[in-house]
Amino acid sequence: MSVLQVENIKKSFGKDIVLRDISFDIKKGEVLAVIGPSGSGKSTLLRCVTLLEKVDFGYIAYDDLVMTKPTGEKGKAVYSDTQTLQQIRRRFGLVFQNFNLFPHFSVLRNITEAPVCVAGKSREQAESQARTLLDKVGLRDKEHAYPCELSGGQQQRVAIARALAMQPEILFFDEPTSALDPELTGEILKVIRNLADENMTMVIVTHEMAFARDVSDRVIFMDGGVIVEQGDPHQVLENPQSERTRAFLTRFSQN
C-alpha cells in the first residue's frame, strides 16, 4: 500500500492554474526528489498534501485515510471531516524552507511542544525523545539555546527534529537548504541522507541535483504545474527524455 497517493489533483489561485492534473504515489521507505524551475508549483504541491492549501479537484489519501476525493458536483474535491484530517496530520511532517521555528521556545521546547500538547505525551517522555533526536541531528548541546542563537543550518536541524518528534510516516522537505549559506547546506543534506538510510519515507523538493541523484529512489521533474518526467534519478538527471527537462538541467548547470 502507498503511504501517500495523489490522483489528478488540480489547484488554481484565482485564474492562475498552478497544479494541472498531478498524480503520483509513494511507497513506504521511498525517497522522492522533486525538481523544477521556480514557479512550477512544487511548493504548492507540498502545501496541498500537507493541508496548508486545499486542492480544487482530485484525490489524496494517506494509506487508508482519505484526505479528499472528487465527489462534489462536477468532480470538485470534497474534504474529509476535521477529525480525519487531524488524524492525517499525524501521519506527515513538513520541513519549511525558512525553518519556522517558534522563536519564544528553547530548542527543547520547540521539539517537545507538539508531542506534549498534540500527541498527549508526558513532558519527561517527550524530553527524553527530543534529546535522542537532538543527538541524531548533532545538536545535543543546544537544547537550552533559543532559535535566534543558532545558525541557519542548526535551526533547520532543529526543525527536522521537531518534525520527527511527531513520528510521521512521511516527511516532506520544501527546499530545506535554499535559505542557507552554501557552506551550511552540507550538514542538512547529511541529516536527510541519514534519514534515508533509516528508510524514512520522504519527499524532497530541492535544487541540489547531485544530492537528489545520490539519495532519492525516484525523481519527479515539474514544470508549469505538471509532472513532465519522472523515473530513476540517474535516468532523469543524466539522460532526460523530455526536452523541457533537458533545457532546465542545462540552464541549471550553467548557473
Partner: protein, 214 residues
Amino acid sequence: MQMTLNNVLNMMLRMLETSQTTLLLFFSTLIFSLPLGLLMAFGRMSRIRPVSWLMKMYLLVMRGTPLMLQLIFFMYGIDLPFSRLQVAIIAFSLNYAAYFAEIYRGGIESIPIGQHEAANVLGFSKSQTYFRIILPQVIKKILPPMGNEFMTLVKDTSLAQIIGVMEISALANKMQAYYVTILPVIIAGVFYLVMNSVVSSCFSLAEKRLGYYN
C-alpha cells in the same frame, strides 16, 4: 487661608485617600479592557463579514470621539444602576479596550504566517496555536505601544471628574480653590509622575524579561 502644618498634613492625607479612587479606576479599567480588547481584536479580524464590520464601526466610534463625551454619554445618556465610579470604569474599559484591540490586532498580524503554518502542520488546534504560539510572541511585540497606553490611562483617569468622580485631580482643583495655594496641584502632579514611573519601570522590566529571543 493660612497654610499651617496641620492644613498641609490634612491636605496630604485627603489626597492619599483619594488616590485610591484613581488607582481603583486605573486597575479596574485594565482588568476589564485587556481581555475585552483581545475579544474585540478577534471580532475585528473575524472572517464573518458583519462581525468584522460592526467591530470596525465600534472601534471607529470609540477611538474617534472624546473619552470625555463618552463618559457624559454613559453617565447621563443611559440609565445605568451604577455609582459614578462604576460608570466611569465601564466607559474607560470600553474605550481603552478599543485601543487595545487595535494594538493586539497589529501584533497578531505582525506574526509571520509561517508560525501558523508550522503549528498547523504539527497538529496544534486553532486555540492551541493562538495561546501557545502566537499570543506569547504578540505580547513581546506590543509592549512598547501598550506602555504608552498605560501611561495615557494614568493621566486620563482625571477625566472621570467630568461625571463627578472625586479622583485626585478633582480634589486637587477643589483644594487649590479652598486653600488658595497651588500646592495640592503640585502634589497631584507628583502623584501621577510617580505612578507613571512605576508603570514605565514595569514595562522596561517586562521588555528585559522577554529580551531572550528575537
